[in-house]
């Protein structure tokens, strides 16, 4: 298991969130999630401009044997989507916390950030899930 970046926030459904400091966040899936899914073959990105609420399914990652919804960790408007994943979904397998980011949100309620787990909390969650 690779390390869990301390500067990011996490959800119970294995998304990570990076606070960009300008009212927007970047969202991806954790290294643990990509490892569990296996080789990804497709990513369905959300449409720019779409309004999402916490826990709305807004993207899909597919491996050969599974498809998994990505839930929005926070409420807001989709302002960016990682088009580079189109045709190169394996980027998530290779660099889940970096080039494998999936979408960006402009937050409608930045205080929701406080409700996400920090790296320690996520590490504990993984330990509990065994």
């Amino acid at each position: 298991m690779s390390s869990i970046p301390s500067e990011l926030k996490y959800t119970e459904s294995h998304e990570w969130v990076k606070d960009n400091g300008d009212g927007t966040v970047t969202v991806g899936i954790t290294d643990h999630a990509q490892d569990a899914l296996g080789d990804l073959v497709f990513v369905e990105l959300p449409e720019i401009g779409k309004q999402v609420a916490v826990k709305d399914a807004c993207a899909v990652v597919e491996s050969v044997k599974a498809a998994s919804d990505i839930y929005s960790p926070l409420s807001g408007e989709v302002v960016g989507a990682n088009d580079a994943l189109d045709g190169a979904p394996e980027t998530i397998n290779e660099d889940a916390y970096g080039d494998g980011w999936i979408f960006q949100l402009k937050l409608s309620d930045p205080s929701q950030l406080d409700e996400l787990m920090d790296a320690g909390g996520y590490e504990q969650l993984l330990a509990d899930e065994g």
Partner: protein
Amino acid sequence: MLIQEHSRPGRRATAQAPLTTADHSTLPQALRRKQRAALPEVSEMQAVRHYTRLSQQNFSIDTHFYPLGSCTMKYNPRACNSLASLPGFLARHPAAPESHSQGIMACLHELQDMLKSVTGMHAVSLAPAAGAQGELAGVMMIRAYHDARGDHDRREMLVPDAAHGTNPASAIMAGFKVREVPTGRNGDVDIDALRAVVGPQTAGIMLTNPSTVGVFDRNIQAIAKTVHEAGGLLYYDGANLNAILGKVRPGDMGFDVIHMNLHKTFSTPHGGGGPGAGPVGVSKRLEPYLPIPLVEKDDDEGYHWLDEDDRPESIGRLTAFGGNMGILLRAYIYARLLGAEGMRRVSEFATLNANYLQARLRAAGFQLAYPERRASHEFIITLKKEAKDFGVNTMDVAKRLLDYGYHAPTTYFPLLVPECLLIEPTETEPKEALDGFVEAMIKIRAEAEQEPETVRQAPHSLPVRRLDDVRAARQLDVAWKPAEGLAESNI
């Protein structure tokens, strides 16, 4: 090599089409094709040789033991094929008048009656073209029933977590919300969890019994009572009907609507993925909603079709011409060959074979998913321990079985048992075949321990080695295209 790669411009199988091209100058130029379609140009012998060779690259019932759980891969009697292919049946146009259809309609009507009897249902429609279409018809009838009573809030369909994926997918197509019900530790539906979720929103529950975990749900009467008392209906997924054919009738268990997979229980061929047939049976209160057409018998005038005009409340038509008639005929012939006694023997010997195979694998040290339970016509082993000890997973074992000449059981289904194999031997396999399978499993486990790479890299003896599914999905290539400028010619 593809048939397209055998193609040479100008080569043809000349005897199979009209000898000349008739005048078609009345077809307007603007609506005509400009370039010929890039279909193969081969001789008849090349086509015959090519497809004969391809057939030899398949495992099948006729060549291999095929214990694919939940699929009931039993022997397909040859008579069913040859008799369903008699010219009177094969050449009959679907819109032929009833005067020229009494023979086939007699067969269909008797099939409806036999299916009613063996399932304990009030009425049967043969219209659905496959199990999944039967499911859709079934849940649409449940919806039609509630709607006819003005009960428009019943929009939730309960589906056990172990169910086939078609169940939730069909419920969604019928406009329901799907709510999962967990399976308890012993393999039965968790009845307390069920009681907690039923209510005025419950339209019904879709159940397979015996379930996909290979056991008969002992609480079925309590489940029926719980759902019925909440105002919901019970849907029976007939995927596992082979386990109880002639022994227990879904109608007696309290089911309101069922579908049957004739390509499983009634031994019509699986055909490399169809055609199937998925007749539906219903209790009296759902009869008006059956999909059309139906065959009715009138003592004086023979058999009649019932269509939209006769059945105004029907959920409607599911295919243009009333279903997979050729498959229905095969099932009819099979049912006549078996008779009542033969049907009962189907479930008895399917169950005997499954329990014998289960006992032998258990004795050989394989771990059963539900060791306390009787197997139905199928059962599950989990290779969790082998995966942990030897680093060889269920898929590896499945592929290695192919090397030993056995089609693999169903892998990784149901989802709730890790590293599982769902094994269904069916009643038509002799004891020797089951013993041979056990020996192969024992050998593979020894290989997993001593030479795990052999198992991980399997298969070794098939036309291809392990295929790269990831590449297939990432670098999609789903149709051959002619090289630029080649093969396409003007008409």
